[in-house]
Every structure is written in C-alpha cells, then in structure tokens.
Point group: C2
Chain length 305, copies 2
C-alpha cells in the first residue's frame, strides 16, 4: 500500500489510478479535487454539510462527495483542506476514519502548531502549505490549475516519514507547483513577514484614513484615493476570518514581525521629523532596490482588484 | 487678454487657438502638451536642458520647445509642471518671463506651501493638482489622455482671482478630469493619508522584511512573497525622489497622519497580544467594509505591477 501511491506518483508519464481523500472542498480543497481528477485520481471528498456536498457534486469537485468520514476508508493519500481552527482541533470521527497506512497532509498557512498537533495524531503526517490565492472562499471557489507555478512548502521534522514526504513532493510536482522544504518555525516567521503581518499593516492604514474626524479631509481622501491606496490597503480590506485565523495561529511570529515593523517605521519617521531628506531618499532607494527580490513568486500572477 | 483665454476655454465646441506655456515636459507636463495640442492650443514648452528639448521635439510634446524662458512671452496660460523643489524655489529668469496677465497654475502634489510661495509671486496664480499616475517619469513618459476621468483639485483662497480659477476649471474639464476644489490644508492632509503616508507605511514593510537577520527566513520570505506582499509594498518601492519630495513638502500633515497610523496599528497589535480574536475580526470586518469607499477614484484604472 505504501509503495503503491508512491509508485503511482513517481510514474507521472501514465495516468494515476489511486484514491485520494480531500477533507474540505473550499478554494484549496475544491481546486485540488479538480486537478487530481484531471490527473486520473479517484477523488473522495468529505464535507460537513449535505448542502455543501450537493454543490460540490454539481461542480464536479470530486468523484464521490460525502458527509460521512467513512468516504476516506480506502484512500492512500488524504489531504486536510480545512480552516486552521478545525485543522488544529480535528473531530474524533475524522481521526477515526483516517486509514493508518495513508499518507496524510494538510494545506494550512501556519505550520508549527499544525505539525505539533498532527505528528501526535498520525504516523504518516506531512505538514505542507501550497501558497495559492485566497481572495475567494467556499465551495464555489475551486478552480483548475490553481497551484501551477506556485510555491508548495513542506515543513518536515525528525518525526516525518521520508517516504510520506516524497509522496507529497510528487503530488506538488504533479500539480505544477514549485517544491520547497523548510523548518516549520522559519516558514511561520517568513509568512508572518510577507503575508500575515501585512494584513495588519494594511488594515491599520484603512483604519487611520477611516478615523479622520475632519469631514472635509475624510471626503477628500475618499475622492482622491487612487491605485496606490487601493494596492496598499488590499490585504487589509480582505477576508476578516482569514486574517483573524492567521493572527490566532501564528501569533508569536506576527508579534515579532510587528516589533521589527514598528522599529522600521519609527526610523523612517525620525528622518522626516529631523528633515534628513537625503538620508530618507537613501532609505527609499534601498526599498526600491529591495522590492524586486520579493516579486519572483508573484511573477506572472494577475494583480487583484 | 484676460477674457480671451476664458472665452477660448468656455467655447469647447470649437477648436482652441490660444497659446499655453508648459514649464517642464515630464510625465505631467508632456501629457498636458500632447492633450492641449490635440485640443487645438499652441503649446510652448520650456525645459532646462537642450538634450531634453530635443527629445521633447522628437516626441512632439509641444509645438515649440525651448530652454529660453522667453518662449512663454505670449502665453495666456502657463502651467508649471516642475518638481516640487523647483516649484517652491523658482528661478528668477522664469519669474521674469511669466506674462503678468497670464493665468498661472501648477500641478504639484502638495498645495499649502505652493500657494504660500506663489500667491506672492504672481497675481493670477491658481494652485492645482491633477491626480494622475506617477509610475513613470521624464520626457519619455508623457502620454495622451492621462487626465481623463481623474480628479483635478484646485485649492483657491481669498487671494485667488475667480476668473483665473475658472480658466483652470475649464482646462481640467477640457482634459476630461473630475473637478474638485478644497482648501489647501484639507487637500494636503487628505493626500498625506492616501498617498504620502502610505509610501512610508509600505517602505517600512519592505525594510522590516529586508532586515531579517535569519538567512533561512529571509530567503523563504523572498521565495514565498506573493501578490499580497507585492501590492502592499508597491508604493514603498516606488520613485525615491518623489517619496522624499512629498515628505519634505508635506511634512506636518504626514507626521499627523503617521501619529494616527501608529495608534491604529497599536490598537490592532493590542488585540493580538491579548488574544481578543473576535474583537480583531470585528476590526477586520470594519476595514473590509471601509475599503470600497476609497476605491471610487481608482475604478477603471489598471492595477500596476
């Protein structure tokens, strides 16, 4: 059984025939279901509500969709595509239904807490994080090809089964992702910096603009705000549940990031207070040069409204 | 003479035949030159260097391009499209060449200091600010139709000649802009909030990410940064000269904005520290609802890379 799914995934030239379970058919789970079916897998989807199951069937997100965890019974690979809160406190019925021989992986955007919980719960668990778009959510959001050219990070530790890790590696490759591995703490600090902290930095800007007590300034700010403001505030005006879940699960890394951020902003502010314009310009030249190094992963991705 | 240019601009049905001077043929000046020629104006461009004049002639940014301020001699309307520093310390030769009867306006992104200087320098000065894109700069950047559907704010005070103001109003309308008037202080506070302060907020995020001392985290952050980070850092990685000029000329408003911003961020951080997740979610729901009100002016504008 173990080498079965491994061999399937290794031989990418022919069509796969294994069974994969996907728990949750939202943006990530639904997209995985579409992609894996197109690669020849038999996809078993587990969802919470019958109404979701019906929509998932209509959209063809899986070959079989059920609200009964037994739908996972014969799966060689199970992907947990649940919201972080549910992933960190899994239901007993789900745990009971996971085949012990299956490779189990997740798609959560925070890895250390997930690894801590799940390495106790399943012998073949692999913590992983496909970095795909999150503007849409729910059973209507899944789409084909979501993971192509996107980073897929696994965060193995000494307890991780190397063969199970390789199964997830081949899964990511089959979906066209860019495979990376990192320790969970480095991953969580990196995503705090480039994804979770920016939500707060950006939301704080909207709050500051929205809190203007002078109505003339407030109305003018709304009338004059252009693409620059739209871009800087996009993630801060995004999905409130997602931003909160990130903050609740990656708290320590976000607070470290915010400490660095506050210091960074205070340094710039001090230059403005002191009127040190050539020093400010030198700092802005540095950020101008820094930014392209952070854009490689989003090259070719469409900007969002 | 005074009513000449006014009548020209009022009768938009027929082609104009007046003479307009444009001082500086960069993105804004060059775009004005192209638009005004297409509307039938005779455009006189004044630039600093002969090499710039040659490029401006090749690009057809004006009917006549010179490095000699006397090129403005017969203009009924002169538009100062200079960088803020030069606008605030105009050269004596330029001041000497401005016809006293001409309407004089500017395009600077900060208005109170400009109004203060120029209301002393010319009797028919009108402070104005067309809000058009600034990603590109220089004599190669100007393009037709840049001002269409974009806000054009004038900031008159009690010293402003009403007829001169109306000339600038008609200019803005002829170019397809959305006309607004405001007092200079409200304008400056509004643009500090939605344009100048975001540069620092955004640059501070790049600096915080760039200052990571752990190379594993730094490399991972670069590899994983996606559209969210790209958007939030776009203005902070923009034109360093422009960001510095804004900070140097709109200092007080930016510092007030930064004070509000810091308080706003600290409130969010306090919720994270205290683990008040439902309160954090309520705040993120509020920013989610706030943002669309700030997007009206950028509707239909293309997002930038």
């Amino acid at each position: 059984m173990e080498s079965g799914v491994y061999m399937e995934l290794m031989s990418q030239q022919r069509r796969f025939s294994g069974s994969v379970g996907i728990v949750g058919l939202g943006l990530i789970g639904g997209s995985l279901g579409l992609d894996l079916q197109s690669l020849g897998w038999h996809v078993h989807g587990l969802v919470h509500r019958e109404s979701t199951a019906e929509r998932a069937r209509v959209r063809g997100l899986a070959d079989e969709v059920s609200t009964d965890p037994q739908v996972l019974a014969n799966c060689e690979l199970v992907i947990l595509a649940l919201p972080l809160a549910q992933l960190l406190s899994p239901e007993p019925a789900l745990l009971h239904a996971l085949p012990e021989t299956a490779v189990v992986t997740d798609v959560g955007s925070v890895k250390a807490p997930v690894l801590k919980v799940w390495s106790q719960l399943h012998p073949r668990f692999v913590a992983s994080h496909p970095m795909a778009g999150t503007a849409e959510a729910g059973v209507e959001a899944g789409l084909l090809g979501l993971f192509e050219h996107r980073p897929w990070v696994a965060t193995p530790d000494h307890r991780t089964d190397p063969e199970a890790l390789e199964v997830v590696h081949q899964l990511a490759m089959a979906l066209g992702s860019q495979w990376l591995t990192a320790d969970a703490e480095s991953h969580d600090q990196a995503v705090a910096l480039i994804s979770h902290m920016p939500v707060l930095v950006s939301a704080a800007l909207l709050r500051a603009a929205g809190a203007q007590s002078d109505p003339a300034v407030f109305d003018l700010a709304k009338a004059l705000a252009s693409t620059g403001f739209a871009d800087t505030t996009r993630v801060g005006g995004g999905n409130p549940q997602l931003g909160t879940a990130m903050a609740a699960t990656n708290t320590a890394a976000i607070l470290r990031g915010l400490q660095d951020y506050r210091q960074s902003l205070e340094q710039l502010e001090a230059l403005v207070v002191a009127g040190q314009w050539s020093a400010l310009q030198a700092e802005l030249e540095r950020t101008h040069e820094l930014r392209p190094g952070f854009l490689a992963a989003s090259d070719g991705l469409k900007p969002q409204p």
